[in-house]
């Protein structure tokens, strides 16, 4: 705790570094995962292979995945971001598909009945109504990415993990606690904030999961 109070500038820098990795990774995962989630609800036979591959990626231990990526992207934040994007894909794809599937069949019937095209149904009805479910996926992705990003300091990506590894090397428990504490705080506040947003959005979407 003392370390945090004595080094506010460094703390801020590390927090921002950490956040940067997480945010870029999750945004990339959204850009790839949402379209894939939509595609699997339209072309049903694609769902098992797509979620299967994303599922396998998800089970690879983080250090192993970093090791696989290092030959391509080196010891850098890029490696960390790539790995975190791959980890986040599964939950984003799954939740996007679940969000679309959870739209009340009566709503789909009404949307078709008033003469919406497939694409209009997606943008007027399915995605707007599915936002809370997709957001729940984002929340899970962010929280786990904050955790995994701490390990990414080991491969030179920076962030709060740096403090933890420094602490281990120099047997300085204060640094370990500072890094771990801030990482947890970051995860918890992201979780809380996104939960609130989700609740607000759910208010006008009563038929969701």
């Amino acid at each position: 705790m003392e370390y945090i109070l004595n080094h506010p500038d460094r703390m801020l820098e590390l927090i921002l570094q950490h956040l940067e990795i997480v945010v870029i990774a999750v945004v990339l995962a959204l850009l790839i995962g949402i379209p894939l989630g939509i595609v699997v609800t339209r072309v049903r036979w694609l769902e098992p292979p797509v979620t299967g591959i994303a599922g396998v990626l998800y089970t690879i231990p983080s250090l192993a995945l970093f090791a696989v990526l290092i030959p391509f992207t080196g010891l850098s934040a890029t490696t960390a971001i790539t790995a975190l994007t791959l980890y986040s894909l599964l939950v984003i794809i799954r939740n996007t598909a679940a969000a679309i599937d959870s739209v009340d069949p009566a709503m789909e019937d009404a949307a078709k009945g008033v003469g919406m095209t497939n694409v209009q149904r997606l943008f007027f009805v399915e995605l707007p109504l599915g936002v809370p479910v997709i957001l729940a996926g984002v929340r899970v992705a962010v929280v786990s990415a904050v955790g995994i990003a701490a390990i990414a300091a080991y491969i030179g990506a920076g962030g709060l993990g740096l403090l933890i590894f420094e602490g281990i090397r120099t047997t300085d428990p204060d640094r370990i606690i500072a890094g771990a504490f801030m990482a947890s705080l970051l995860a918890l506040s992201a979780d809380f904030g996104l939960k609130r947003l989700e609740a607000t959005l759910r208010r006008d979407r009563p038929t969701q999961l």
Binding site: A110, A111, G115, M116, P128
Partner: protein, 375 residues
């Protein structure tokens, strides 16, 4: 106008093997401005038949024409935008306001925002939801009945000629349902749409329909006006389906002109003074409009009480005398109603008992006795 020509829809059955015929060789024509009720027990194919009109279901065989054009040659999306659609679950979009929901088809058709809003306000007014109060609410802030009013407004938004309604009032409480049914009648009398209306509620059918199409297991059993179904049911099934209030309904759906003899010559004296300036009967024959139902005619007779006349003269819209109803005509109509309805003690004429002047038979039981019909 909607025309079904030899339309069938078959589905593979769940346990494999045999095909399920949801709709079997259906031939129906719904004329312009007509409210046609498709009725039948569940599984009769009525909803499937309706959903084939806007191509939410594709027929296996046969042809459906919408305003003379084969609907299989039309773009389904454009077809649906040109047809109003109301469903039991309402299906309002919860993330849009009431006005936005009503304006959804105009929006798909590319109307400008201000025009959409104007149209939405106009329609909310028509369905009895003042726009100032309701336009900017969200569907969840409305009661079930109010939501369905919005559903009806949405169907009318782009001023389609045809509207499909799939058990639209099935999910609301009985009092609200009655209210909505009456409102629909009022709205229909203003807008004159061609409406295909699916229900399993026979009272609703009789209240709303110009034409009733009764289906059972995918087949058309009878197609006719409410009066035709009542008075000339083609089978026991129709009679059973119409149910126990049949006698009363016969009287309700038979007009006075149907039971009258042709206009008498010369006219009975004093016919013109049948009703006084204050609307009260002041002696002489009673003058009633020829389009009035027998039930309402009987109510009038009961209301004039002791002054009840021997005859009723019928007038058309131009006040010409077109027919005469004698006590004998009336007794025959009543006995027809009773024998077809076989219901006990309906109290059809209600109120005054005027035995002696011939028009005072006042319960089903009395008439049955008078005609020597015993149950």
């Amino acid at each position: 106008m909607i025309t079904f020509e030899h339309v069938s829809k078959t589905y593979p059955s769940h346990n494999g093997g045999e095909l399920v015929r949801a709709v079997n060789d259906l031939n129906v024509q719904v004329d312009e401005g007509e409210l046609c009720v498709l009725i039948g027990p569940s599984g009769s194919g009525k909803t499937t038949a309706m959903r084939m009109v806007n191509r939410l279901v594709i027929p296996t065989e046969g042809r459906i024409s919408v305003n003379g054009q084969d609907n299989s040659t039309m773009d389904p999306v454009l077809l649906r935008r040109s047809i109003g659609y109301v469903i039991q679950q309402v299906g309002l979009f919860p993330h849009l306001t009431v006005a936005e929901n009503v304006g959804i088809v105009p929006r798909l058709l590319g109307w400008e925002k201000s025009k959409r809003r104007e149209r939405a306000n106009e329609l909310l007014e028509l369905v009895g939801l003042p726009p100032a109060k309701f336009a900017d609410r969200h569907p969840r802030q409305l009661s079930g009945g109010q939501q369905q009013r919005v559903g009806v407004a949405r169907a009318l938004a782009a001023d389609p000629e045809i509207i499909l309604m799939d058990e639209p009032f099935g999910a609301v409480d009985p009092i609200t349902r009655k209210q909505l049914q009456r409102e629909l009648r009022r709205i229909q009398s203003e807008v004159h749409k061609t409406i295909l209306f699916v229900t399993h509620d026979i009272s609703e059918a009789f209240l709303l329909a110009d034409r009733i199409v009764l289906m059972y297991r995918g087949r058309l059993i009878q197609n006719g006006t409410p009066a035709e179904l009542l008075r000339h049911p083609v089978s026991e099934f129709v009679t059973d389906f119409i149910g126990e209030d049949q006698g009363l309904r016969v009287l309700q759906y038979t007009t006075l002109s149907e039971i009258a003899s042709s206009a008498p010559h010369p006219l009975p004296t004093g016919h013109a003074v049948g009703t006084g300036a204050d609307g009260n009967h002041i002696g002489g024959p009673l003058l009633l409009p020829q389009s009035m139902s027998v039930l309402d005619g009987l109510r009038h007779l009961a209301a004039v009480g002791h002054e009840a006349p021997d005859e009723i003269l019928l007038q058309d819209k131009q006040d010409e005398i077109t027919g005469i109803i004698t006590n004998a005509n009336l007794v025959m109509a009543l006995s027809e109603a009773i024998t077809s309805g076989e219901t006990e003690e309906q109290g059809i004429a209600g109120g005054n008992n005027n035995n002696g002047n011939g028009s005072g038979l006042d319960t089903a039981h009395d008439i049955r006795e008078a005609n020597g019909v015993h149950s």
